[in-house]
């Protein structure tokens, strides 16, 4: 079926912890995080705001905000090379070329004083030795590819002259300019209205199949997950609590948190899943409970949950759960 080359994941995150400074001490916002993204695969990272999904993507890009944040430990292997250990100059060569990122806020993510055409062609100019005319021609082709109406006429326009949906298309054009092996999409559709959202998702799916790109897709919208993901990783308080193929997680979620997330019927037009059913809030970064981090909110909680931290246990091939009650260590489901 496949050769050895195709088996190496595009992205392999191993035991990653990303820390932030709060009142003089470093606290992990993400800890013990491990996952792979295979070639031409879309992995969705799902969870409430503040669970560490965006931080994860930023650390892959080497864009963890400094000096208040840092990668504490672990490896981020992108095409076999450890991004976390790279110098800034090496990272700059990778960013925008082999890996690219789309951000959540199309309204503020484009530079207001540079023309849209230039911003799209910039990555080409930076990474490829081509002249300005060739870069512009390619940028125009990209704008047409992401279906900007009358792209030629609008090439020299500025971001404020575009709508939110159009700006997000421009962001996508920028990100795919150099056909990256990995695209990190941080809630790319959250700020858009429903129809535009569906269009943008469709566009991303087309691009992925056309270019054989891998995607790390961050969202808290489960409708979007169903539409685009191959596999799903559910994050809570900086840890993966459940990871499984998309069909499996929709049909049989194991972790109580995943269950709660999925209790509300996922719909693409819902901005946020209601978590009222579980009550409570994600604990702040500097006041994490010692045992299972979800324990204080968990309906299936047992006294042992709060004593020790839980391990991620494989309950089925490709399906792992971090829960001492539903998936105790040593147990193995068929």
């Amino acid at each position: 079926m496949s050769g050895a080359v195709d088996d190496t994941p595009v992205l392999r995150v191993e035991d990653l912890s990303v820390e932030f400074r709060v009142r003089g001490a470093w606290w992990p916002a993400v800890r013990g995080l491990s996952f792979d993204v295979a070639r031409n695969e879309t992995l969705a990272l799902v969870g409430e705001s503040g669970c560490g999904k965006s931080i994860t993507a930023l650390s892959v890009m080497g864009l963890v905000p400094r000096p208040q944040g840092r990668v504490g430990s672990g490896r981020i292997l992108f095409e076999g090379r450890d991004v976390a250990a790279m110098r800034e100059a090496e990272l700059e060569r990778l960013r925008g070329d082999r890996m690219a990122m789309i951000f959540q806020e199309p309204m503020t993510s484009l530079n207001p004083v540079l023309s849209v055409g230039f911003q799209v062609s910039e990555a080409l100019r930076v990474h490829r030795a081509i002249d300005a005319a060739a870069a512009d021609a390619e940028a125009l082709r990209l704008l047409e590819e992401v279906k900007i109406p009358s792209a030629r006429r609008r090439f020299a326009d500025y971001p404020h002259q575009f709508s939110g949906g159009m700006r997000q298309r421009v962001m996508i054009a920028m990100a795919i300019a150099l056909k990256p092996a990995l695209l990190l999409a941080d809630e790319p559709t959250t700020a858009l209205d429903v129809t535009i959202q569906a269009q943008v998702l469709g566009l991303l799916a087309d691009l992925k199949s056309a270019q054989g790109m891998s995607m790390l897709f961050i969202t808290h919208n489960l409708g979007v997950v169903a539409a685009i993901a191959d596999r799903v990783a559910v994050m809570y308080a900086g840890e993966i609590v459940e990871i499984a193929p998309v069909a499996r997680i929709f049909s049989g979620p194991v972790h109580p948190y995943t269950e709660a997330l999925f209790r509300a019927i996922p719909r693409i037009d819902r901005e946020e899943q209601s978590l009222d059913a579980i009550g409570g809030q994600v604990p702040p970064i500097d006041r994490m409970p010692p045992g299972c981090r979800f324990a204080p909110r968990c309906p299936a909680r047992r006294p042992s949950c709060e004593a020790s931290s839980q391990a991620l246990v494989e309950v089925a091939p490709g399906h792992s759960v971090r829960c001492g009650v539903r998936a105790p260590a040593g147990a193995r489901a068929a």
Binding site: R95, G96, F103
Partner: protein
């Protein structure tokens, strides 16, 4: 762009009238008799009345206002009471000196202030940042006549590096530049201090913007991110402040010209003051209003160049 300039120019006219009106009201609202100020309390009633008539301040207030505005808009600023020459002539004769000084200090302020501000922002809360912040605060606490005198004492009197007298031959470019050095530094220091501080805070603001992160995510090298993506946006508030302090600069040039004994608007003002040349003073007032409106206009145009959003509006 041409449309934008034309629109701005048109919009500047009412502003000029408004500025003149405000100045007129201020001058007239505060009690006091200019004729008495000019001639002193020993003057005869006849002399006072004659002067009032000559200055046009014996007419009703509304007529005075009308005369003042028409005269200003037609460029007729009256004649000096002392030399009898038109005010505008006297001003035009010395204007190049003042413009030399103002523009060169602005260039100095921008050339030093912007990089220093960027540097401080990039080294936020490190030693360089603290030093730049304290030094710039000292810099803008110097009244220019004090810094001018200090510079004069050190570089002209003690080390004899620069001439004490600033009168220069406009046709001789070398001489003109040479004599501009110390006055420019004097006036420029304040500019450097202000521009450094504004650039620093604008950069800090801009560096945390989403589009800077986008640029980095594209793999744009750090230096280009700062120059192309951050600085261009940070310059927008800097332009505002430069525009505002260009006015202050015009005011400070008066002091600099006195300290360095340079010809210029400042010297004309002081001479008019000493000679109690009221007509001259009133004409100069209009000139300053005009300069301030022009400064504001230039600031607006600079916005148009930097910020594409401005032209649209």
């Amino acid at each position: 762009m041409i449309w934008y300039v034309a629109k701005r120019l048109l919009a500047a006219m009412p502003t000029l009238v408004a500025v003149l009106t405000v100045v007129f009201v201020i001058v007239r609202i505060i009690p006091g008799d200019p004729a008495l100020t000019v001639l002193g309390d020993q003057a005869t009633p006849q002399a006072l009345a004659a002067l009032r008539e000559k200055l046009g301040i014996d007419k009703p207030l509304l007529a005075q206002y009308f005369d003042f505005i028409t005269a200003a808009l037609t460029g007729d600023l009256g004649r000096s009471l002392v030399s009898g020459r038109p005010v505008i002539q006297e001003v035009v004769a010395v204007l190049p000196h003042t413009l030399d000084l103002t523009i060169s200090s602005l260039v100095l302020g921008t050339a030093l202030g912007v990089p220093l501000g960027v540097w401080a922002a990039l080294r936020r809360n490190r030693l360089a940042d603290y030093v730049i912040r304290i030094v710039s605060l000292v810099g803008l606490s110097f009244p220019v006549f004090v810094s001018g005198i200090f510079l004069l004492m050190v570089f002209s009197l003690h080390y004899r590096l620069f001439p004490v007298i600033g009168t220069s031959n406009l046709a001789d470019l070398g001489d003109r530049t040479w004599k501009l050095v110390l006055p420019t530094i004097t006036l420029g220091l304040v500019m450097v201090a202000y521009i450094t501080r504004v650039t620093r805070s604008a950069m800090l603001q801009v560096l945390s913007e989403d589009y800077v992160r986008t640029a980095r995510a594209k793999g744009v090298p750090a230096r280009l991110v700062i120059r192309r993506h951050a600085l261009r946006n940070a310059l927008i508030p800097v332009v505002t402040v430069v525009g505002l302090y260009l006015g202050i600069n015009i005011g400070n040039s008066v002091l600099t010209e006195i300290v360095f004994n340079r010809p210029g608007l400042g010297k004309v003002i002081v001479t008019a003051l000493n000679q109690r040349d009221y007509a001259m003073l009133q004409g100069l007032m209009v000139i300053y209003c005009f300069l301030i409106v022009v400064t504001n206009l230039l600031t607006d145009l600079a916005y148009g160049l930097i910020d594409p959003r401005v032209k649209q509006a």
